[in-house]
């Protein structure tokens, strides 16, 4: 019921995306949309093209065919940093933190697209640069509290355990205050407790900040619980798209996941 006023217009739409690497077709004619405020999942077996799909959305891969529409406008070919500056943040399947920097510095770097003072003001520091720094420090401290990572604020992230790194990476993405947050297997390799924590963070982010989230996840139970709608990919093609209930009962999806042969 609150579902209806939480979810708004289309935020992002991909139309007929095809992507191949040499002879390998990673994505074939994929179309779907992501609505403002929803949690959208992409699932599928290994090598289905899920990560490639996120890479297309954030401008890291450039598809041979198809269009990406963001906030009602067709997006021309863009560099990843330009996409980030439009309000798209993401985390990676293999964590991509700045390992030599502290948790705090990683999160502060996440804010970088919003920081404006020029190099001369930075050189002087006192005045605008320091004020800006403190303003964003405040924002970052909120995220640190939210994620419960106060104790590792000053620790170089390379020294943190895997689960914590995943959390810091989420924090860095949140620091950008994105409109669209892309999470590539945020719970991979986590134990049950860590998965529960992460699920709660995802729901809270969506709920409190109204952030639209697109996530890839292998744990079907988690996906069914979290998401509003699910896209299923297999061998680069779209198998199904809909609410968890629809997807769960889709024959093609069941076959793909159970490996049932199609010849009967």
């Amino acid at each position: 019921m609150d579902q209806d006023n939480r979810i708004g217009d289309t935020l992002l739409e991909v139309k007929n995306i095809s992507l191949s690497f040499g002879g390998v077709k990673a994505l074939t004619d994929i179309s779907f949309d992501i609505k403002e405020g929803e949690i959208r999942a992409i699932i599928g077996p290994n090598g289905a093209g899920k990560s490639s799909m996120l890479n297309v959305i954030n401008g890291f891969y450039h598809p041979q065919e198809g269009e990406v529409w963001f906030r009602g406008k067709k997006r021309e070919s863009m560099k990843p940093y330009q996409v980030a500056r439009q309000g798209v943040a993401r985390t990676f399947q293999n964590i991509a933190l700045f390992k030599g920097m502290s948790t705090l510095d990683n999160l502060m770097t996440g804010c970088i697209t919003h920081m404006k003072t020029n190099i001369f003001l930075q050189a002087i520091w006192k005045g605008p640069a320091e004020r800006e720094e403190l303003e964003f420090r405040e924002r970052v401290e909120h995220i640190i509290d939210f994620l419960g990572i106060q104790a590792i604020r000053k620790t170089p992230v390379g020294r943190l355990p895997y689960g914590m790194q995943k959390r810091v990476e989420l924090g860095r993405a949140l620091a950008a205050q994105p409109k669209l947050l892309l999470l590539d297997e945020p719970m991979a390799g986590m134990n049950l407790e860590e998965k529960e924590d992460m699920s709660r963070f995802i729901l809270d982010v969506n709920d409190e900040f109204g952030t639209t989230i697109t996530l890839i996840e292998h744990d079907i139970g988690v996906v069914m619980d979290l998401s509003d709608r699910i896209v299923v990919l297999d061998y680069g093609c779209k198998l199904a798209d809909g609410t968890p209930d629809v997807v769960r009962n889709d024959q093609a999806v069941i076959d793909a996941y159970l490996g049932v042969s199609h010849d009967d």
């Binding site: 560099k79 933190l97 700045f98």
Partner: protein, 358 residues
């Protein structure tokens, strides 16, 4: 009194992110600066100026510059000598063209010119990385030295091919030229290096420094969170070259007085500064100073001991010195890649717990 941070609580974020978060460090820095500015000038003599203090300051400036590029932004450069030459020749041409210009501004302008040249030579860094970038910067080193040798306009068609710094003043006191007093050249260099060390600290702790560090750690991730890689790398090249250009201008204008490009700014100087940064500590402002101090002072010390005290022949001492420095560089690369600055940090860490290690 113990050296410690307990009891030194931070109650707001401004205190937490200052340059020297521990009170005792803060005092130590101020005491050191006060000593350098208000005591040393009264006691400095020609030997201390020429052999120890001024070279230390000049090479600290160069090490700060290279540390910004290599230590913070992760772009290895072997072109430092060439960029110092750009600073030196800019300094020379500016001195000749504007005889009335205060030497302080001459050095700053020489830095700015070098920054522009640095941006041009930094352009390939978008495409090439690591070892290949090092080779490209090596090419720029040779190209620049060749250019300053070959084009007579740079050395005003002098028959020797050398450039010689005329006397230039600040507040009526000679800073360059043969009659400049020791205390004046020392204070001039000290002032510049102090100002720009604080600026380097400010740049590296804020937005721009984090952009550089993130490029260093993982350039793809940096781009994906919204950092334009070209802009970040070129700004590092610009700032770094600015510092290196100033150090070249100081080396030529204030310290050497005259220079020949291959001799004063050869490839050995590029390596010297790189070793300073490695030994001192990559990505550390303090490390730039420690590295410069080490590589300037250790040779002076060794020479004094071997030649002065033991009476060994000077060329034997020079060879032993090279061996020793070479061994040290290997030691640091293998055992402590974060350099003297890290050793210093660890010592403080221990002191902080002392005398109760648990």
């Amino acid at each position: 009194m113990f050296y410690r941070e307990s009891g030194d609580f931070k109650t707001n974020y401004a205190d937490d992110q200052q340059s020297f978060p521990i009170k005792l460090d803060r005092y130590a820095v101020w005491v050191l600066l006060a000593f350098a500015f208000f005591v040393v000038p009264f006691f400095i003599n020609d030997y201390w100026e020429k052999s120890v203090l001024v070279p230390f300051l000049v090479w600290s400036m160069a090490a700060l510059g290279l540390n910004i590029l290599t230590g913070y932004c992760g772009q290895v450069s072997l072109g430092t000598g060439g960029f110092m030459a750009v600073g030196a020749y800019s300094c020379y041409k500016l001195m000749i063209a504007f005889p009335g210009l205060n030497i302080f501004f001459v050095v700053i302008l020489a830095g700015i010119i070098t920054a522009i040249v640095g941006i041009a030579f930094g352009l390939p860094s978008l495409r090439i990385k690591g070892f290949y970038l090092a080779v490209a910067t090596l090419a720029s080193q040779f190209f620049l030295i060749w250019m300053f040798n070959k084009i007579p306009w740079f050395y005003n068609y002098s028959s020797s091919g050398m450039i010689t710094a005329p006397e230039r003043t600040m507040f009526g006191i000679a800073i360059s030229g043969p009659s400049a007093p020791s205390w004046a050249t020392y204070l001039f260099c000290l002032t510049l290096v102090t100002i720009f060390a604080f600026i380097a600290r400010n740049l590296t702790r804020g937005r721009i420094g984090r952009a550089w560090k993130s490029i260093h750690d993982m350039d793809i991730a940096a781009e994906i969170i919204g950092i334009p890689p070209l802009q970040a790398k070129l700004s590092a090249f610009a700032v770094s070259s600015f510092y290196i250009g100033m150090s070249g201008a100081m080396l030529f204008g204030v310290y050497l007085g005259s220079a020949e490009p291959g001799e004063a700014f050869g490839i050995d100087k590029s390596f010297l500064v790189l070793f300073m940064v490695i030994i001192g500590g990559l990505g550390s402002i303090l490390g730039s100073f420690l590295g410069a101090a080490f590589l300037i002072l250790v040779p002076v010390l060794m020479k004094n001991i071997m030649v002065g005290a033991f009476g060994w022949p000077a060329d034997l001492a020079a060879h032993l010195e090279l061996l020793f420095i070479g061994a040290l560089i290997m030691f640091f690369l293998v055992v402590e890649p974060h350099g003297l600055a890290q050793l210093w940090r660890m010592t403080k860490e221990k002191l902080r717990l002392w005398p109760f290690p648990h």
